[in-house]
């Protein structure tokens, strides 16, 4: 392990911590007596959202000029992505398309959780699969999921309550059919993961140890310490590698364009080998888009919790092929991104920290919001505390945030709980000389989740034949705001559904003869016709941080 880099809090911040310590015994007594900071009513919540949520305020957005969502107001970064030209010249591929480099039943774009689950179920249904992914197999937001996966499997809970929580969390803008699929399939998924050998947190009798999360009325969160996503992803990757004859994985090979055939059905993709800088053509009888989210576009200038490859590639590829986007107006800003130490800036502090009892505390040592408000409301409350109420803490480098009082956890659950239940987080701060079981963390909202995306039905089919989608790239499941533990769940529910449905589609589909990029040609023509003059190309594949000395940050002194 790296040594000699323990920094810890500087004296100025240590002094501020005293105010938090001063009010802690009283706050602890109140929690033990089940007296919490009151939750905001729906109307109060809406008010704080309108005033402080980064995507509710005017500015930072513009009207989209092309494609199925033309005239819709979207974040500049998303509009930029969609109003871009291809990385390739379609004419240069006329000959290459006649001789594909790979032929397979299903091509899955994306090597995260949704792609892995889809691959395993497609294989189970007798299909040959190629997974093409931008970085290594498993490099994804899935591995970064810390807090848990929801499933209503305890007697005092039911899919009914899970449905209600999910719809409310999404401000009732979700697609009810997708939410029904999500909540009813959830226990089946947990059972499947148990079979694969995922280590869940259980008591001695085998009962799942379940916690709540923001906006969730019953204990429903299944976990594996604070790294459930990494645990699930490594198990699935291991299982995929047990089937090398049926599932081939192409790493460092992101897709740069979809291919269609003469029947207008999606029939493959063009991949780009990041290392050899060569293109390859894959012909497939169906394509599953599982490319994940867009955090690395840094919407509204925010830092992000997302992995290096989360650049929204699937959005623009599918959009060019004619798939509309839904629920794209509001991104999710996770309330608790790290502010200090600078080296961890923007990184996720799992919501599990708050389900275990950590509270939001301002500079004066006062609690200012219920620990488990839905994420968008909690983020807005923090921004309000910092911008308007003079409750902010300022770090030596000029970033600001509020305290997340993690020492409450050991006081509530017993000494050693933080180290055991939040082991990855504990280590991550320990590296910088901060013991989060005795010292609070400074947090500020960070760009976390796409919320919306490609329109799908309850079987993961888009309206373009041959193109399916699962995971963060899709929209409608979570409406305008996702709850904790519902994204790890959705990649499984819809990964599985897509994996099953795609085999039915393939059996029925007509055999295409000619691969083409005609959809791209018309998209380019549309861009030119609407007067979009730009040298931008998309997908961007990787963010550009070259020669940058500090991370992105929207609010700074």
């Amino acid at each position: 392990m790296a040594e000699g880099q323990a920094i810890g809090y500087p004296p100025g911040l240590k002094e501020l911590i005293q105010a938090v310590e001063h009010t802690r015994p009283e706050r602890l007594a109140r929690v033990k007596a089940n007296q919490h900071f009151p939750r905001l009513t729906r109307k109060e919540g809406e008010k704080v959202l309108k005033s402080y949520h980064p995507d509710y305020k005017p500015g930072g957005r513009r009207k989209l000029r092309v494609g199925a969502n033309k005239s819709e107001i979207l974040a500049n970064e998303v509009a930029d992505l969609l109003e871009s030209y291809s990385r390739i010249d379609p004419d240069a591929f006329d000959d290459r398309l006649k001789k594909p480099d790979y032929e397979t039943d299903v091509l899955i774009l994306g090597g995260g959780g949704a792609g892995a689950v889809a691959a395993l179920f497609a294989r189970q249904n007798g299909l040959r699969v190629v997974i093409a992914t931008k970085l290594r197999h498993g490099d994804s937001n899935t591995v970064m999921a810390e807090g848990g996966i929801q499933a209503a499997d305890r007697p005092f809970d039911s899919p009914y309550h899970h449905y209600l929580d999910t719809m409310g969390g999404g401000h009732f803008t979700n697609n009810p059919y997708l939410v029904k699929a999500l909540t009813m399939d959830a226990p089946l998924i947990i059972r499947w993961l148990e079979d694969l050998g995922v280590m869940f947190d259980k008591d001695k009798a085998g009962n799942m140890i379940e916690l709540k999360g923001g906006g969730i009325c019953r204990r429903r969160m299944h976990s594996s310490a604070d790294m459930i996503g990494a645990e699930i992803m490594r198990v699935q990757r291991d299982e995929i590698r047990n089937h090398p004859k049926e599932i081939q994985v192409l790493e460092f090979s992101p897709a740069v364009e979809l291919l269609i055939d003469e029947t207008k059905a999606v029939s493959g993709a063009i991949l780009y080998n990041l290392e050899t800088r060569e293109y390859s053509v894959v012909k497939a009888r169906a394509v599953i888009m599982a490319t994940g989210g867009f955090g690395r576009l840094h919407i509204q200038g925010f830092p992000t919790t997302n992995h290096y490859g989360a650049t929204g590639d699937g959005l623009v590829l599918a959009y060019r092929a004619g798939v509309p986007l839904v629920n794209m107006r509001y991104a999710q800003y996770h309330p608790t991104g790290t502010v200090f130490p600078e080296q961890n800036f923007g990184l996720l502090i799992t919501e599990k920290v708050r389900t275990l009892g950590a509270q939001f505390i301002n500079m004066h040592g006062q609690e200012f919001a219920h620990p488990l408000e839905p994420r968008d409301v909690a983020s807005s409350c923090i921004i309000r505390e910092c911008m308007e109420r003079n409750g902010r803490i300022v770090t030596p480098t000029g970033h600001y945030g509020v305290w997340l009082d993690t020492p409450m956890i050991d006081l509530l659950w017993g000494k050693g709980t933080v180290e055991k239940e939040l082991s990855a987080k504990y280590l991550q701060f320990k590296r910088y000389g901060i013991d989060i079981s005795t010292e609070p963390i400074i947090v500020y909202p960070t760009l976390h989740y796409q919320n919306g995306g490609l329109e799908i039905n309850e079987w993961g089919a888009t309206r373009v034949p041959g193109l399916f989608a699962a995971g963060e790239v899709t929209g409608g499941i979570h409406g305008d705001n996702r709850l904790m533990g519902n994204s790890l769940l959705d990649i499984h529910v819809f990964g599985r559904r897509v994996g099953i449905k795609v085999s039915e589609f393939i059996k029925a589909r007509k055999k295409g003869k000619r691969l083409s990029l005609s959809h791209l040609r018309s998209y380019h023509a549309d861009l030119r016709k609407t007067g979009v003059k730009t040298k931008r190309v998309a997908p961007i594949l990787l963010p550009d941080y070259v020669h940058r000395s500090a991370p992105a940050c929207p609010h700074k002194f």
Binding site: M1, Q5, M144, K202, G206, E231, D238, N242, L427, H547
Partner: protein, 258 residues
């Protein structure tokens, strides 16, 4: 590993940040002392392809080996989690060659013979502890290997739980074990066979398959938005278990209780 981007360094130098020299694969660069190895490489002009994944200390893509000037010890760390130090000589490990065995998890038995047959290199362990010293996650790798040798699969699973599978242990091992793959198998055997199954989960799966929740779901899906919002606002909140472990819900209409 990364490709060097074209163009001149144009990073703005903040007056407060001190620049220190580091050596990336032997070449000297001046970088702000607050950066991690990962961001310092970007500051120096590298655009990562390999050697960069989650940027948050969990994916294992950015294992890096380094020596500090004047020290004999070879050190290991995740580039995204290790702050640069003056005169640090570093190189990233782009890939670790290792053979993951192919097996059918459904046909294995959760015992040492399964693992020993699949990864016979297990028995070559010299108990030298080089693996533990190299682990960027601070895992006692040797201890979990020794647990396996004693047949303690559960112990191995628990000790290795925070493994990112970066593979540094296997690169350093003088006996050429592939520790991280053995631990992966141990954890799956533990999760599937040795941890008791959740009976409440099995029961719920059965209830769903028998259609016992169908009418509840039909009912809630047929509600108009106004009524749905009303029910959402009036949900009954379960307390945390430290608050009231004996809680019972008042409304039971949408539950299946025995």
């Amino acid at each position: 590993m990364a490709t060097k981007a074209k163009g001149k360094a144009s990073g703005k130098k903040s007056s407060e940040t001190r620049l220190i020299p580091i050596y990336i694969m032997g070449k000297k660069y001046e970088v702000p002392e607050t950066l991690t190895i990962l961001t310092a490489m970007e500051y120096a002009g590298y655009r990562h392809i390999r050697g960069c994944g989650c940027r948050g200390g969990i994916c294992g893509a950015c294992a890096t080996v380094y020596r500090l000037s004047g020290e004999y010890r070879l050190k290991f760390g995740l580039a995204c989690q290790t702050v640069v130090a003056p005169d640090m000589y570093l190189a990233q490990i782009p890939f670790v060659p290792a053979n993951k065995a192919i097996y059918d998890i459904e046909k294995l038995t959760p015992d040492i013979n399964s693992i020993g047959r699949i990864y016979p290199d297990l028995y070559r362990c010299l108990a030298c502890n080089t693996c533990s010293k190299a682990c960027p996650m601070g895992i006692s790798v040797m201890d979990y290997v020794q647990a396996l040798l004693k047949g303690d699969i559960a112990g191995c699973a628990r000790l290795s739980h925070s493994c990112t599978m970066c593979g540094i242990c296997a690169l350093r091992c003088p006996a050429e074990l592939q520790q991280f793959h053995m631990a992966m198998l141990a954890r799956r055997l533990y999760g599937r066979y040795l941890q008791p199954r959740a009976r409440h989960l099995e029961k719920r799966v059965k209830q769903i398959k028998e259609g016992k929740f169908d009418s509840m779901m039909d009912a809630i899906m047929s509600l108009n938005n106004h009524e749905l919002k009303r029910r959402y606002a009036r949900r009954e909140w379960e307390p945390e278990s430290y608050e009231n472990p004996d809680w019972q819900p008042e409304e039971t209409k949408y539950l299946i209780l025995d």
